[in-house]
Structures are given as structure tokens and as C-alpha cells.
Amino acid sequence: MLPNETPFHSPGKQRATAIEALLRLKVITGFVVAALLTSFMGFLSWRSTRLAADDADWVAHTYAVLGTLDATLRHTADVETAARGFALTGEEPLLAPFDSALPLIGSDLDTLRHLTADNPTQQQRLDALEPQISAALAFSKRAVTQRRQTRAAPPPGTFQESEQLMETVRATIQDMQAAETGLLDQRTGKAKAAKPLTKFITLIGAIFGVGFLVVAWFAINREIGVNARAREEISALNAELEQRVEQRTTALQSSEREVHELNDELEKRVMQRTAQLQAANQELEAFTYSVSHDLRAPLRHISGFSKILAEEFGSTLDPEAQRYLQRIQESTTRMGVLVDDLLNLARLGRKQLRCQVTGLDSVVQEVISDLKPESDGRQVEWKVSNLPFVECDPSLIKQVFQNLLSNALKYTRPRASTIIEVNQTNADGQPVVFVRDNGVGFSMKYADKLFGVFQRLHRSEDFEGTGVGLATVQRIIQKHGGRVWVEAELDKGATFYFTIGIPDQTQSKSQAAAAGDQS
């Protein structure tokens, strides 16, 4: 993926994370609310049960109090009735209830005291009841004792007092019963009054619960929907991403294919060109060969037979014919040189350079020595100095000096005293070799023609030549990665400059020291 492009997965992922977080929060909130509600409902239920149990206790308590009060009254009444019956009749069996009930009353009262311990009002009433019962029981006991002693029925009206005492007892007990019943009613009423609230609260709680469930249902449904939508969105984004990746891949593949095709095309063209070049080279080679072989042969024959003619039959020819023969000879020779020069130039094009470090000084000396025949009888001063060692093809660089030095020698021929200087200078920090003469020179306006094949600036009657020499020089220098140029002035001389490869500095110094001016 390119660095400046927005990553596709990021918003979807962020969104999914946000949705999940929200969902979690909602679930937790819902869970907490549900827990609270359930606890509250549980509490209410527990409280309601508790209240119901309390009510039941209270009712039981009340009935226990009421029962005990009844028992107390009944027992007391039994004792009074039995005592009265015995006193009136003197029959012992009638005393049976007296004997059985009397011991119970004490425990009845104890029970009452215990049951109403929490109720000061009832305790007060009990405080009042106990002496009343004691009085009634004391009266009954007395009546029984008297009857046994007297053995006679008591006088009428004796039991009025007993009835009054019983009435008091009954009244007090009824009071207590009434108070107890009232208390029960009061309590039951309170419980009853509390029940609707509980019911209400329970109902509300139930409604809330159901409502919450419904809300939770919808919320969860909604969340599921949102989640599903988000998932759909993410998967849509993913699908889009995948599609784009696929598109990119396809585009890349097709561009790669294009590049391949272009490469193939290019390679094919290079091969075609190479083949064409090879064909052209072969053609040139064949041409060169046939020029060399086939063109030189007839020239040789012309030269040979005209020479034989001149030598063997010259005496029989008149001078004019001999002169013509001479011209034929000269032309043949010139054409031979021309063909050789042209062939040499053509061969240069495909010749492989065989470079080695070469001292230019020795090359120049060799050439000067070769040129001896041409400088014979002339006053020529050679000033050769300061020449470097360079990486070059020695045979080719010798040709350069051959051409330049023989040119210098040729164009200084009209001079009484010839000076030819071969030296080194610097141009733009690059070493430059130059060959300077004091010959006839030429006008600089023709300088650009000088290095062309067959270009000549002088008439051949004045200076012989084929017009190939400087073209050859240029070809050789260019093959060495160098440059050749000329400065000249008409009647003042010419200077040919050339650069060649990269000189070997250390050796050029030693050679500079060793080489002196030479003449």
C-alpha cells in the first residue's frame, strides 16, 4: 500500500470497537438495574412475608391472652360456683370443681403476667385483677370452711358479696379481653393497611421488571441490529478493499506486462539494429577487402606495364609519348596511395584499440627518423620536449604523428629555415599535445573543412596529398576519447592540438626531465 493512502480497515475497526464498548456499557447498566430491581423486589417480598409472620404471631399471642383470660375467669367462676353449691348443700361431690380449678388459677395469672409483659396497661389491669380474684377466692374458701364447721347452710344473701366480687373480676377480665381484642384489631388493621402498599410496590416492581425486560429486549434487538449493520458495513468495506487490492494487482500486472512487452520490443529492435549493424560491418569489410584486392591489382598492372613500356620501348617513343607515360606512372602511384589511405581510414573504424602506456617522446623520435628522407637537404629544427606518457594504441598514435609531422614538413617546404615544435600544454586542466610549424598556414575560415575526407586547402601542384591524412588523425584521436583542433594563420604557420586519454602523471614528469630541446 502506498504511504499516502488511508488505510481501509481503520474506520471499520474503530467503529466496531466503539460499538462493542457501548454494547458492553449497556449490558452492564442493564445488568446492574436488573440486579437492583430484583433485590428490591426480593426485599419487598421478604418484608411482606415477615410482616405476615408478625401478624400471625400477634394474632396467636392475642388468642393466647384471650384464652388465658377465659380460663382464668372460668376457673375462678368454677371455684365460686362449687363453693357456693357446697355451702348451700353440704354435698362434698359438688366441691370437685373447686379442688381442680383452684390450683390452676395461680398459673393462669402467671401466664397472663408473662403474656402481657410488654403491655403496661394490661399489666396495670392485671395488678387490679389479681387482688379481685384473690378476694373472690378468699370468699369462696371461707364459705367452704364455714360450711364444714357449721354444717348448716349460710343465711340467704351471704353470696351477694361473692357475686359482686365475681362481677368485678368478670368486668376486669372483660376489660382486658376488650383491650386485647382492640389491640389485635389495631394491629391487624395496620397490617391490612400496609398490604395494599406492599401490593402496590410489588405491582410497580413487577411492571418495572416487565418494562425493563421489554426495554432490554428492544435495546438488545437494536444493538444486535446495529452490530449486524456494523458487521455488514465492515464486510462491505473489506470487500471493497479486496476489490481495490485486486484492481491494483491487476493494474500492476498489466503494467508489468506492458513493461515486459516494451522490453521485448526493445530487445527485438536492439537485435535488429545489431544485425543491421553487423550486416553493414560485414558489407564494409567485404568492400574494403575487394577494394584492397581488386582495385589495387589493375593499378599495379597499369604501373607495371607502363613502366616496362617506358623502359624497354622508351627509346622508340618520341618525348611527348614518354611524358604521357610519365604522367600515367604518377597518377597510378597517387591512386595507389589514395586507395591505401582510404583503406586505412576504413579499417580504423572497426579496429580494436590495443592500449598500453606509451611514451610519446619515443614515438615522435621514431617518426622523425622515418621522415629523414623527406627532410634531407633542408634546414629543419625539431623542438621536441615535455611529452607525456599516455595510455594509447602505439601504432595508431604513431600514425597521428606521422600525418601531423609529415604535414608540418610538407607545408614548411617554402621556408628557408623550418622550425617544428612538438610539446605539451594545458587546456582546462587537461594536458594537450601540440605540433607547431612555421609553414604557409591557412586562413581560419576554412578550419572546419580541414578534418573532412578529401578536403584540401592547397593546390596539389603546390602541395601533394590525398586529403585523407587529417581525417585519419581525427578518427584516431576520437577513438581514443580525445579531441583535435587547429590554430593557424595564413603565411605564419599552423598549430595542431589534441588531447588523448588520461596521461600518466608520474612518468610524464620524469620524461619531461629527461627530454630536452632537440634539433
Binding site: 589495387r296 593499378l299 595507389g336 583503406l343
Partner: protein, 158 residues
């Protein structure tokens, strides 16, 4: 010209070249026993005493062969190759004389065992000088291996 005892075998297809060479050799008195073969096949038959030359014997091989390269039927290089491959003929000096100064011809010629390689100069004076030097050198100055049968007559001829 006797084909039995030959000093120089000149292999040259061109009539003019052959005539000029003979003219030059004659001037130097080296042309007494010269045989001119006009193509490679004839040259080989002459050397190996075959075809029209079955009457010749290996006893008298030529003392020098001047060989042109561009020849009809069998070219000069092939002639050279067969000569130098055969023990009976490989000691005969072969001087390639041709118009070409092609480097590959030079390399190939020497590689096949040529004893010398000369480009025919265009100028007839130079040509004559070259032919003279070659003839004198190989027939007079140079000492051939024993049994090569160089006759005293040809030496006297110089």
C-alpha cells in the same frame, strides 16, 4: 620450362600479375625454372604430382612457392593448409604474395605456416624490388633443410 625440376612455383590466377612477376624475375635471372599454376587445384596437383603431373616426382619439389590468396577452385589458404599438413611438402618455403593486407589474412597465413607474407606494391619499381629480394633471399641467401634438393644451377643463375 621443365616441370621436372622447378625452382619457383608461382601460383597466380591473374595473367597480368603473372606476366609482371615473370618479367621481374627474368630481370633478376631467377626465372629459369618457373612453373605458373593458374588456380589452387593446379597448384596442388603440381606439388603432389597428381592429375596432369603424375609424371613428376617428390624428389624434385619446388624450392619456393609464391602463392596468391584469391584463387579459383581452391583458394590460396587451402593450398597452404594442405602443403603444410603434409610431411613431404611442409618444408617447402611458401611466400604469400597478395594484394590484400587484411590482418585476418596475415594472421591466418602465418597460422597455417606461411614463411613470409608480402603485399604486392602498386608501384612497379617497388614490386620489382620486392620480387628481387624474395627470390634472392629464398633461393640464394636462405639455407634450405638437407635433402630439399636445392640445385647449384639455380644459384649459378644469380
Amino acid at each position: 620450362m621443365s616441370s621436372a625440376e622447378v625452382d619457383i612455383l608461382l601460383v597466380e590466377d591473374n595473367q597480368d600479375d603473372a606476366e609482371l612477376a615473370l618479367h621481374a624475375l627474368r630481370r633478376e635471372k631467377l626465372a629459369n625454372n618457373i612453373f605458373v599454376a593458374r588456380d589452387g587445384e593446379e597448384a596442388l596437383e603440381f606439388i603432389f604430382c597428381a592429375g596432369a603431373f603424375t609424371h613428376r616426382s617428390f624428389e624434385h619439389p619446388p624450392k619456393l612457392i609464391l602463392l596468391d590468396l584469391k584463387l579459383p577452385k581452391v583458394d590460396g589458404m587451402e593450398v597452404l593448409k594442405r602443403l603444410k599438413r603434409d610431411a613431404r611438402t611442409k618444408t617447402i618455403p611458401v611466400v604469400i604474395m597478395t594484394s590484400s593486407k587484411e590482418e585476418r589474412d596475415l594472421v591466418k597465413g602465418y597460422g597455417l605456416g606461411a614463411n613470409s607474407y608480402i603485399q604486392k606494391p602498386v608501384d612497379f619499381d617497388q614490386f620489382r624490388e620486392t620480387v628481387k629480394q624474395v627470390g634472392l633471399y629464398w633461393l640464394v641467401t636462405n639455407q634450405p633443410p638437407v635433402g630439399n634438393g636445392v640445385s647449384q644451377t639455380s644459384r649459378k643463375a644469380t
